[in-house]
């Protein structure tokens, strides 16, 4: 095992504010191939799991990123004063619809939610959780929306296919929170 390569990769992950993909790392290290990089990443990930520190390496948004463990959240949130505004229920529902049904136009989102979503779309765009993908070849050429990499990052998803599947709903009563 090339320990120095491992440390280089670690230093990159540690210094990056975004998740890094194996490909991005490979491009930074001439002469190294993807297989090698992936192996090193896997080893690093395992190492941090065994070390039992307050943070570890997680696979998110198609890349790797250092993340603190959830149990330290009260202390860190306290320090950062958790200014990160939480998403409202309405915003979360809209975001979920976009995530599951993308590419999707506004009219379709509104049909599914039963309410107008203009303001929410703007807020989600501003937060970088959704993006404009293109326009639909329909009258008025409506804008098509999709989720961003940041969405994956924030919701701890490796890629879109790791979204939990939609459950078959048979009857009301269980599961519904109100």
């Amino acid at each position: 095992m090339d320990n120095y390569l491992k440390l280089i990769v670690e230093s990159l992950l540690f210094a990056s504010s975004e998740p890094l993909t194996p490909r991005q790392i490979r491009d930074l290290l001439p002469g190294k191939d993807l297989i090698e990089i992936k192996k090193v990443l896997k080893e690093l990930k395992d190492e941090y799991e065994t070390m039992k520190r307050s943070f570890l390496i997680k696979e998110v948004a198609e890349g790797y990123q250092f993340r603190s463990l959830p149990k330290f959240k009260p202390y860190i949130a306290n320090m950062l004063m958790s200014t990160q505004s939480r998403l409202s229920k309405a915003a979360l529902e809209t975001l979920t619809i976009i995530a599951y049904k993308q590419p999707i136009i506004r009219q379709e989102i509104e049909r599914l939610r039963g309410v107008e979503v203009g303001g929410i779309l703007k807020m989600l765009l501003k937060k970088g959780l959704i993006r404009i993908v293109g326009r639909k070849p329909l009258p008025g050429r409506p804008i098509i929306y999709g989720t961003t990499k940041k969405f994956l990052e924030v919701f701890d998803l490796k890629d879109l296919s790791s979204l939990p599947t939609l459950k078959e709903i048979e009857e009301l009563g269980d599961g519904e929170e109100g």
Partner: protein, 233 residues
């Protein structure tokens, strides 16, 4: 009143419908449409009575419900009984779909959400010429920037723009002139007399250019944390 409910704020008509189905303890696939419609309308009345603005979306659903109700009341014709779709079908479909998505939304928030449950490294590395006022650009930023540019064209109510436009080159000369007189200067003092945003931007760009080209040195004083400027000879 045939039912009592505490006045909850519902996000939309589908939320209200789900709530009614829940308190009536009925199955979504077999909604007693007359009861639910009446309760739905009562709820809208209640909202109006309390002077709560009833959004158009709620009214659209009300008319859909009434339409379904009237269809259900029509005497069934023997021959097409098998063929005809249950009038409630459409609403059942959207309710089911909506519930699925609400469920998925709940599942999403139960994950280890970044900045809520877990945190990434908080480093902010300063570098090079684009040190300050940097943003990671998204399309939204692009549009936002455009809007700001357009607004800048029309003098706003808050911001006062002077008639002249600020040239970075002129500002560079001005900074050099000041630094020749004063030897060094606090960054804040450089901007203290400026009122217009565009002048500040021009000054700032001028300063960056001077730093980049090696005419001005920017450093932090030992005692104070203010940024200082000095001319390099």
């Amino acid at each position: 009143m045939t039912f009592k409910t505490k006045l909850e704020v519902f996000e939309g008509p589908l939320d209200l419908l789900l709530h009614l189905i829940k308190i009536n303890e009925v199955e979504i696939s077999d909604i007693p449409i007359a009861t639910i419609t009446d309760q739905y309308l009562e709820y809208l009345d209640l909202m109006r009575a309390l002077d709560i603005n009833v959004a158009g979306d709620f009214l659209v659903m009300a008319s859909t419900l009434m339409h379904i109700k009237s269809k259900m009341l029509l005497p069934k014709q023997e021959d097409d009984l098998v063929e005809i779709e249950d009038p409630r079908e459409e609403i059942v479909r959207s309710l089911t779909e909506y519930m699925q998505l609400k469920d998925a939304a709940n599942e999403l928030t139960s994950r280890d959400v970044l900045y809520r449950d877990v945190f990434k490294r908080g480093i902010e590395i300063k570098r090079g010429e684009e040190d300050i006022a940097t943003t990671k650009v998204t399309l939204y930023d692009l549009m936002d920037a455009f809007k700001k540019v357009i607004r800048k064209k029309h003098p706003g109510i808050v911001l006062k723009f002077s008639a002249e436009s600020w040239s970075v080159k002129k500002k560079m000369i001005e900074i050099i002139r000041i630094l020749k007189e004063k030897k060094n200067l606090l960054l804040g003092d450089l901007f203290s007399t400026m009122e217009s945003v565009s002048e500040m931007i021009a000054t700032f760009l001028a300063l960056l250019e001077l730093v980049r080209t090696g005419f001005v040195n920017v450093f932090q004083g030992k005692e104070s944390s203010d940024i200082m400027l000095e001319a390099i000879k």
